[in-house]
């Protein structure tokens, strides 16, 4: 009770520091709570969602002619429970355009199912269902609603080459497997019975295939299931055709949550930075509190308060502040929960519901409380040693016998500059603290800008991380045709072509086996995107480059010899390089065409990457090719566009995070400057009053304060920005390390250093001017009176 009174009084006394702390703690709470609640719930959320819909554990899309052998394979794999098969229409060169949202047509391959088929696996539960299913109604993935703003009733144009059909969105469905184009760049769409048969009847829209969904005994064995399936299907389907795609639950789950994991990790990291700043503020305000209040502390001790009680009062003060900040923070977190839901939903493609998460709330409360109380205890514990007499007599000795760094008698500087510099040196401790905070913020600022730029403006670094080629068009042929390939290479508008195939390889080393999507091409130097981070790409037929994830899982390293098994043939390869990629969860490898020929002598390249000239329109070219070779069994589709589409889905999330970070940085800088200057003004009231009485004008005094503070702001922001310039990429790499990324190559414009420094300095200058403007209002006499009490 009595301690409470003291604490209340302390808070009342230091309103500004209290406000700063409350805001800092509120911000830290928002980030920490959101980060923790999303991170902790994501896994169970996805799992529950999948259980609720009885989502497939494994999906395979294959040519209908293999149905019976595929069934045999299913039966032969341990853990197989049951499967459902239905017909589907697969369209690789499909394009979509929502007429109502005025978007441009974009290319993404699609698989269309019959909505009216009975199914128990991956049940379709329609969200925002249209009142009545129109004839041309289509049910689209939920991600289109949250990320692209599609609404029920919108007109969706389904385009293949120069033909198109108008569909009407009749609702949205959720399915982990096809949740987000960032994971599988293919839309799964459901249309009504009649529409389905109409589409099937027109081969121009795509080909009929057999879509089967499998439920296994063990949800966490789906990856294993897929690898066994791929291995067994190879000898069945001739020449790697016929089995178009396989998907498994585990991979998809990891895939959809990677990005949100990164964002939430950034949030948690940011909240820790804010907490650090809060600690510095606490340390600073505790010390000033004790120094300014030493007489009161002494009086209280004389009256019979024990030092423990006074210390407890200080702790209670911070407990109250933390509590207040925390409540505001949690309230704000609920307030912004729609935005959070949107970010999470758009990145995982499932409807995320933000409810109250007591565990996350308790955990963030615990983290914040413990750290705040700990830091305030350690900065205030020294009052335990102060006896009432020393407190009343002299306070804590605060004499400064520092070296006189700017002697006025022989300085050539102007009077204001000299006096400003004097107080700059005098307030060394404060300046260091403010400097550290500004430095941290400046670093974060550069990092945020760099993220923003590389996710939105220039995505090449991101693409390099993902590890996909930037070819505009991809062409698949069913059987090798050199003539055709050469013809295309010679076409006008084509800059270059490169044959780039992939296959699902099994790599073994020392008894450890790992799966990797292995790329095959003749000459890796011709690829536009270099994913090699160590060593070199393969050149000779017995060389291979592997991602670090695969290497680590096998325990192999560069210069070791691994073996690859393909359709019964096993060959040895020498690891000559390490590559990195986001794609395929970082499980990748690369060998040369000759190397592939060792595994399969009859191998011929069937996939062609086509790079177009700058002025060549991609869609036009795709249509042209498809028309030209309409009789032959080839598939031509735009390639890079779909990757960009996938990156676009990140863009909004990154935008929100970066904007929030920048806004918070600005707020913190303003508050810190406010705090520092207010404390200085209070502490130097007498000096300022004397100066005024001596004839210094307000402007001169403001100028002195500016000169004493600006070097810190400019210097610290510059150092922080430079540190950010050099540290952003390593930081990003550390954050992405679990995904097998060893180094990042984000572009950070050197101008960003100058920009950040100037921005922060201007912000600081503005704050300084506003705060120190209060000098004007105070008459010298008043300053004396208030300061001298």
């Amino acid at each position: 009770m009595n301690i409470f009174m003291i604490a209340k009084n302390n808070i009342k006394k230091a309103k500004l520091a209290t406000a700063t702390l409350i805001i800092l703690i509120a911000m830290a709470t928002i980030f920490l709570y959101v980060g923790i609640s999303v991170l902790s719930n994501l896994d169970t959320f996805i799992e529950n969602k999948n259980i609720g819909l009885n989502g497939a554990h494994f999906i395979s899309i294959a040519d209908g002619s293999y149905d019976s052998s595929i069934d045999e394979i299913y039966e032969s794999i341990a853990g197989f429970d049951y499967r459902e098969r239905e017909d589907a229409l697969m369209s690789l060169s499909s394009k979509f355009q929502n007429v109502n949202t005025n978007e441009e047509a974009y290319a993404i391959s699609s698989i269309i199912l019959n909505l009216d088929t009975d199914r128990s696996i991956s049940k379709v539960e329609i969200i925002d269902a249209a009142a009545a299913m129109p004839e041309n109604g289509v049910v689209v993935p939920y991600v289109l609603k949250v990320a692209n703003g599609y609404q029920t009733g919108d007109n969706l144009k389904f385009i293949v080459d120069d033909k198109s059909i108008d569909l009407v969105i009749a609702g949205f469905y959720e399915d982990l497997m096809f949740a987000s184009p960032s994971n599988v760049s293919m839309y799964k769409l459901y249309v009504g019975d009649s529409q389905f048969s109409e589409l099937l009847s027109q081969p121009a829209y795509g080909f009929k295939c057999s879509y089967s969904a499998v439920i296994t005994d063990d949800l966490n064995g789906s990856e294993e299931f897929e690898s066994q399936y791929t291995e067994k299907i190879k000898p069945v389907t001739s020449e790697r055709t016929g089995s178009y795609a396989t998907l498994n639950y585990e991979t998809m789950k990891t895939g959809v949550s990677i990005f949100i994991h990164i964002i939430m990790a950034v949030l948690v990291a940011f909240s820790i930075i804010i907490l650090l700043i809060a600690f510095i503020v606490i340390k600073f305000s505790t010390t000033t509190h004790i120094e300014n209040n030493i007489k009161n502390i002494g009086t209280l001790e004389a009256m019979g308060y024990t030092t423990t009680q006074i210390l407890n009062a200080i702790l209670l003060e911070y407990l109250l502040i933390t509590g207040g900040g925390y409540i505001i923070g949690v309230a704000a977190a609920f307030g912004i929960s729609p935005a959070i839901s949107n970010v999470v939903s758009s990145s995982i493609g499932l409807r995320w519901l933000t409810g109250i998460n007591p565990q996350a709330a308790m955990l963030s409360l615990g983290i914040i409380m413990l750290s705040v109380l700990g830091i305030s205890y350690f900065s205030a514990v020294k009052i335990k040693k102060i006896t009432p007499l020393t407190a009343l007599r002299n306070g804590i000795e605060t004499h400064h016998f520092n070296k006189n760094r700017v002697p006025l008698d022989n300085t050539r500087l102007g009077l204001n500059t000299a006096l400003g510099l004097k107080s700059f040196f005098f307030n060394k401790k404060q300046n260091i603290i403010a400097g550290i905070i500004i430095m941290l913020l400046s670093l974060v600022c550069v990092f945020a800008f760099a993220m923003y730029y590389n996710f939105t403006a220039d995505k090449s670094a991101m693409i390099k991380l993902i590890g996909l080629e930037t070819a505009e068009v991809q062409l698949r042929v069913e059987e090798n045709n050199d003539q055709l390939l050469n013809d295309i290479a010679d076409m006008s508008g084509v800059e270059s072509t490169i044959a780039l195939d992939t296959f699902d390889g099994f790599i073994a080393y020392n008894g450890h086996e790992s799966r990797a999507i292995t790329r095959i091409t003749d000459d890796y130097r011709r690829l536009k995107v270099d994913t090699c981070v160590k060593g070199r790409m393969p050149v000779n037929d017995n060389e291979i480059a592997i991602t670090s994830i695969v290497l680590d899982s096998m325990g192999a390293k560069i210069a070791d010899t691994v073996s690859i098994e393909y359709t019964g043939v096993t060959k040895e390869f020498l690891v000559v390089g390490v590559i990195q990629q986001f794609n395929m969860l970082g499980k990748g490898a690369a060998i040369t065409t000759n190397g592939m020929k060792k595994l399969m002598p009859s191998y011929e390249a069937k996939n062609l990457m086509i790079y177009l000239n700058d002025n060549q329109d991609t869609d036009e070219f795709v249509t042209h090719i498809n028309n030209l070779y309409s009789g032959q069994n080839i598939q031509c589709a735009s390639y890079f566009e779909s990757i960009e589409l996938m990156l676009d889905s990140f863009e909004s999330a990154v935008k929100i995070v970066v904007t929030a970070c920048l806004a918070i940085i600005a707020v913190i800088i303003v508050f810190i400057m406010f705090l520092v200057i207010r404390v200085r003004l209070l502490g130097e009231k007498i000096r300022l009053g004397v100066s005024k009485a001596l004839g210094f004008t307000s402007n001169q005094l403001i100028c002195q304060i500016l000169i004493s503070e600006m070097p810190v702001i400019i210097g610290a922001s510059l150092v922080g920005a430079i540190a950010g310039y050099y540290l952003s990429n390593p930081l990003m790499a550390v954050m992405l390390a679990p995904n097998g990324i060893l180094n990042c190559d984000f572009f950070i414009a050197p101008g960003l250093i100058a920009l950040t420094t100037i921005g922060i300095s201007l912000l600081g200058l503005g704050t300084l001017l506003i705060v120190s403007g209060s000098i004007r209002k105070i008459s010298p006499w008043k300053m004396f009176e208030e300061g001298g009490n």
Partner: protein, 252 residues
């Protein structure tokens, strides 16, 4: 015969600064009787305040023992001393030391809460006592900066008395006040003493010293003599004369 309430034996206080030792109090032995108004006088630097703070448990003596009602307090820890002070001691300082950010009433209540938990009862008691020292209801919610020096000192006295201590320690309570205010404050102190509480006061003002019934004269950390004056009588010229002669003989 009055009972001894506070007793110091062979009390010494030494401040050491590196190898230089300064003995401020030297083997002081005194008894303070319950209900006495004791004034400690002496030239500046003679150790008056040091003695006051050592006796009150604000500071620990270097050597020697202090016993309060037979209980030795010189070996107490800082926290034990704090608890001792809150129960038995009240303090009035020359610099007043009211908490500037608390109202008059809160300044008193915050001390009252150390002993009692009943905030309302304390407030009632505080108001009553404030009235007794001549402070009316309008100043309850004023802040110390809005009071005159004398009023603030009277508030401080009420704060010192709120827990009904056996002994009130005052370190030159009138030192920072003008003569009218000083007389007011001294009257309050005299009333306090008359009500049975012991007062130990440090002063170097003869008018203040006149109020005491026992005057100790300190020189170089030693009590060189003491004077028993008897109960204070207002405007007693003889009393003043005796005191002046005593002080003159001490080399005042």
């Amino acid at each position: 015969m009055k009972n001894t309430i506070l007793k110091a034996e062979l009390l010494s206080k030494t401040y050491s600064n590196g190898s230089i030792m300064q003995h401020v109090l030297k083997n002081l032995t005194i008894d303070i009787k319950a209900g006495d108004f004791t004034v400690i006088m002496g030239s500046s630097g003679s150790g008056k305040s040091t003695l006051l703070y050592a006796l009150s448990g604000m500071d620990k003596p270097t050597l020697g023992t202090i016993t309060f009602k037979g209980q030795e307090i010189s070996g107490y820890s800082n926290d034990q001393l704090a608890i001792f002070r809150r129960k038995h001691c009240g303090f009035v300082f020359q610099q007043i030391y009211l908490n500037e950010t608390m109202s008059v009433l809160d300044n008193i209540i915050i001390c009252g809460l150390l002993v009692s938990r009943d905030k309302k009862a304390i407030a009632v008691k505080a108001k009553d006592m404030l009235l007794k020292v001549g402070l009316t209801a309008e100043c309850y919610h004023k802040y110390p900066s809005q009071l005159s020096g004398g009023e603030a000192q009277r508030v401080a006295i009420v704060r010192a008395l709120i827990n009904a201590p056996e002994i009130v320690f005052a370190d030159e309570p009138t030192g920072a006040l003008n003569s009218t205010n000083a007389i007011n404050v001294l009257d309050v102190m005299t009333d306090v003493n008359a009500a049975g509480q012991s007062v130990i006061m440090v002063t170097h003002d003869i008018k203040t010293a006149r109020r005491a019934n026992r005057i100790l004269y300190l020189k170089d950390g030693v009590i060189i003599d003491e004077l028993n004056l008897g109960i204070y009588v207002k405007d007693d010229p003889e009393r003043h004369q005796i005191l002046r002669e005593f002080l003159e003989s001490m080399g005042w």
